[in-house]
């Protein structure tokens, strides 16, 4: 188990009811972590439409996690 910080934006923040929270997880990749968090907070968006960043850099969903990471979850974008 590692400890890290999850941050939520836009619709994810409203569904989670917070903009960030500490998370203890056995997930090895960002994708596994998203599955856990989506189940807990009821996020319905497919990963393929969302984006994720670790420590302020966009990363692939298969990226590994390390203790202390700040993981940012972005719902589907809708600019302009």
């Amino acid at each position: 188990m590692i400890e890290l910080q999850a941050e939520y934006f836009a619709a994810f923040r409203e569904q989670a009811g917070c903009s960030s929270e500490p998370v203890r997880t056995a997930a090895g990749t960002v994708a596994e972590l998203y599955a856990e968090i989506a189940a807990k907070h009821g996020f319905l968006d497919s990963m393929t439409r969302c984006k994720v960043a670790i420590n302020d850099e966009l990363v692939e969903w298969e990226s590994p996690l390390a203790a202390g990471d700040k993981v940012l979850f972005f719902p589907p974008v809708a600019g302009g």
Binding site: R49, E57, L58, P75, V77, A78, G79, G80
Partner: protein, 149 residues
């Protein structure tokens, strides 16, 4: 001077001032796109919009898109800006400007940039409706959004 850059803006965009940065004696064509807040979305009357973003990541991804445009198309300069915060009907939410020697490249690059910005840059909008609660424009509507607005 940088000949391509992307920025998020917290104050009103100034398309006329931004456009002047495109000027170049070698340029024969300029194409500019402006996205304005419409009074309707998917059949509902909209009164205002709020844009939220993650500035660091949004500006990096926007810059990457402008760099791609410069390498794919024969253009001279390309700039983009996107508003964050609260906007009213008719306000300019996003501006993209491209100059080139010839117009084909300017059109193609401008369209490439706005299409990619809308698909890839982490910016979210919350719509305020005349009737009913506000809502984030979410997954379900976003597919239509990306092709239609």
């Amino acid at each position: 001077m940088d000949k391509n850059h992307f920025k998020l803006a917290t104050a009103a965009l100034e398309p006329d001032r931004l456009k002047r940065e495109l000027l170049d004696d070698k340029a024969g064509a300029a194409v500019c796109f402006e996205g304005w807040v419409r009074n309707h979305h998917a059949g509902e009357a909209v009164t205002a919009l709020e844009y939220e973003s993650h500035a660091g990541i949004a500006e990096k991804e926007g810059q990457r898109i402008l760099d791609e445009a410069v390498s794919r198309f024969e253009i001279i300069a390309a700039f983009g800006q996107h508003r964050v915060g609260r906007l009213e009907i008719g306000d300019c939410a996003v501006w993209v400007g491209v100059s080139a020697a010839h117009r084909g490249a300017a059109f193609d690059a401008c369209r490439y940039i706005i299409d990619e910005l809308k698909a890839r840059v982490p910016i979210w909008k919350k719509e305020h409706y005349v009737e009913g609660p506000s809502g984030w424009v979410n997954c379900a509507t976003r597919g239509a959004q990306a092709t239609h607005s």
